[in-house]
């Protein structure tokens, strides 16, 4: 295999993964965007006068970056995990396993597809949100950086979940017992400074908190934790999960008997 062949192989797998979610765009994009917009409408209406966040930032504006990042992360996870579990259950994963695609090509294609879907959903929510509130964007590169690494981290976690799960209910357990609690306890709807000390400490163990906090800094220039620290912690999580994923793919864990 030369470089051109390997590039084309990776590109083909990426294109297939992108087309896969695009074919069911109502389920993969429209549904999470509508969910996020409903969260925005309801929570901003109910909590606007009850939750104290940053100075000079109104609650609706505060809510939007958190909702964007939460949806981005959930959809990045959903993309790689659902593609893999479907392919495994239906048996069509063999079409990839029979080819000269390396474990690294496999990882890159699934990773990029997850980031693209997450960022696409996030962008749609952002555009919708502009209808409701004027949102500043003080540090666009920080927003971009957290979107990439957050999408990458959850896309990688999705690959692990997809490979590990043998059935749809096992995958649902990942969604319901890991992704959802981590999303909702990450400071999407509040600043952790408003929490009692114990819950503040607990929140600091949640990687979602750092992704959302750093992402929010990109918009307002304010955060609970220094953005560089958040980025370092998220990068460390990514390196650990990527190493585990590459190890699983290289050994053929649950893919090659």
């Amino acid at each position: 295999m030369n470089f051109k062949d390997e590039f084309l192989g990776t590109w083909t797998l990426l294109k297939k993964e992108l087309l896969r979610f695009w074919r069911v765009v109502f389920q993969t994009v429209a549904a999470p965007v509508i969910t996020a917009v409903l969260y925005l409408l309801i929570f901003s209406h109910v909590l606007a006068n009850h939750v104290k966040v940053y100075d000079n930032v109104n609650y609706t504006a505060f809510l939007i970056p958190g909702l964007i990042m939460m949806s981005l992360l959930q959809n990045a996870f959903a993309n790689s995990s659902s593609s893999l579990i479907q392919s495994k259950v239906m048996g069509n994963i063999v079409f990839i396993l029979l080819t000269p695609i390396t474990y690294l090509q496999f990882f890159i294609a699934f990773l990029i597809a997850s980031i693209v879907r997450g960022v696409f959903v996030g962008t749609c929510i952002y555009l919708f949100a502009l209808l409701f509130v004027d949102l500043p964007m003080l540090h666009p590169w920080i927003i971009f950086g957290f979107a990439m690494i957050g999408g990458g981290l959850l896309g990688t976690f999705g690959i692990i979940a997809g490979i590990w799960s043998n059935r749809f209910d096992q995958m649902a357990a990942f969604q319901n017992f890991v992704i959802m609690p981590l999303s909702f306890l990450s400071g999407v709807f509040y600043s952790i400074h408003s929490l009692p000390p114990f819950w503040q400490k607990l929140s600091q163990l949640n990687p979602f908190f750092y992704m959302i906090d750093g992402f929010r800094y990109g918009f307002f220039g304010q955060s609970d934790v220094a953005p560089l620290l958040s980025l370092s912690i998220v990068a460390a999580f990514f390196i650990v999960l990527a190493s585990i994923t590459l190890g699983m793919l290289k050994s053929g864990y649950k893919l090659r008997g």
Binding site: M1, N2, K4, D5, E6, L8, G9, W11, T12, L13, K15, K16, L19, R20, R23, V24, S87, M90, G91, N92, V94, F95, I96, L97, L98, T99, P100, I101, T102, G252, R256, G257
Partner: protein, 303 residues
């Protein structure tokens, strides 16, 4: 002659179960080869190790000189596998699937003419833009074969390709596969339809309980185990077949009882014994032994 596939002392254990007990097998380039055996013989395990879908416990496998583990990329480029199960990706149509499959092997738009040729050869023109979900079982089987061919592999392995396929389609598939073999592709076939192996394949390996129990040219195997079958339709009317000839019975179905003959003189003996027991013969035919007989003799199993 160059070797297309070499299995060297391949063993596979699943816990305490020895699924493959040291398979040594070489298939030459250009051969039309059959791998036969009952369920659980180890055929699919062997194919999965060849395809890289499973790892052997010990031993090595090479495809066109490339080791399936250490040089897996070149080994897989040389190999087209048609899986046994009717698997498909429900998101795409036939042509999209074929383009994706070619792309995984590093083949782009320059390969489209070959994809058209494969589509035509397998009579899939009308279904090329149809979603895989909407295809009938037979059409899905053709699409699977097309997928295995898109990167022009020199070695093609078909794992039970005609299971559940109607007679007409089966004929068409074999015509297409035969053409590929004539063009120089090595074909390896696993099948339950022994008559297919008998008519198509120049050489046969028979597997049983993880071992190769026979390996020879098809005609040599048939000659080596030459025997004749005497098929009789009898008017039993509640009578029993005499014990003296019961040992010769190979199989019984609704209409015929088949006796396996080592020597032709046994015909006289069987008819004599039936006469003695006053069992009338309604119909009779004498046929040559086939691979099924050979297989039953080798594995010592009865239908």
């Amino acid at each position: 002659m160059k070797k297309a596939i070499v299995f060297n002392k391949v063993k596979k254990n699943f816990g305490k179960l020895e699924a493959l007990k040291g398979i040594d097998l070489t298939i030459d380039e250009g051969e039309f080869f059959a791998l036969l055996g009952p369920n659980g013989a180890g055929k699919s395990t062997l194919i999965n190790i060849l395809a890289g879908l499973m790892k052997s416990t010990s031993g090595s496998v090479k495809v066109m000189g490339h080791d399936v583990t250490s040089d897996y990329q070149n080994a897989r480029r040389s190999l087209g596998i048609v899986p046994q199960e009717l698997v498909f990706d429900p998101f795409f149509n036939v042509r999209e699937m074929l383009r994706f499959q070619a792309g995984y092997f590093g083949k782009g738009r320059e390969n489209d003419d070959w994809i058209d040729e494969v589509i035509e050869g397998l009579d899939l023109q009308d279904k090329a833009n149809t979603n895989m979900r909407m295809l009938s079982g037979g059409m899905k089987r053709r699409a699977l074969i097309a997928q295995a061919l898109v990167h022009k592999p020199p070695v093609i392995v078909l794992d039970e390709p005609t299971a559940g396929v109607d007679v007409e389609l089966r004929k068409k598939l074999w015509q297409f596969i035969k053409k590929l073999n004539q063009k120089g592709h090595t074909i390896v076939l696993t099948t339950h339809y022994l008559e297919e192996a008998e008519t198509l394949c120049s050489r046969v390996a028979m597997m049983d309980q993880g071992k190769v129990v026979a390996l020879d040219k098809t005609r040599n195997l048939l000659k080596r185990f030459s025997a004749k079958n005497l098929n009789l339709r009898l008017d039993l009317k509640g009578k029993k077949i005499p014990a003296s000839i019961q040992r010769l019975i190979q199989k019984t179905d609704q209409n015929f009882i088949t006796f396996l003959l080592k020597e032709i003189v046994e015909v006289e003996f069987i008819i004599g014994e039936l006469k003695k027991s006053k069992i009338a013969i309604l119909d009779m035919e004498l046929t040559n032994s086939d691979l099924e007989n050979v297989f039953l003799k080798l594995t010592g199993s009865k239908k």
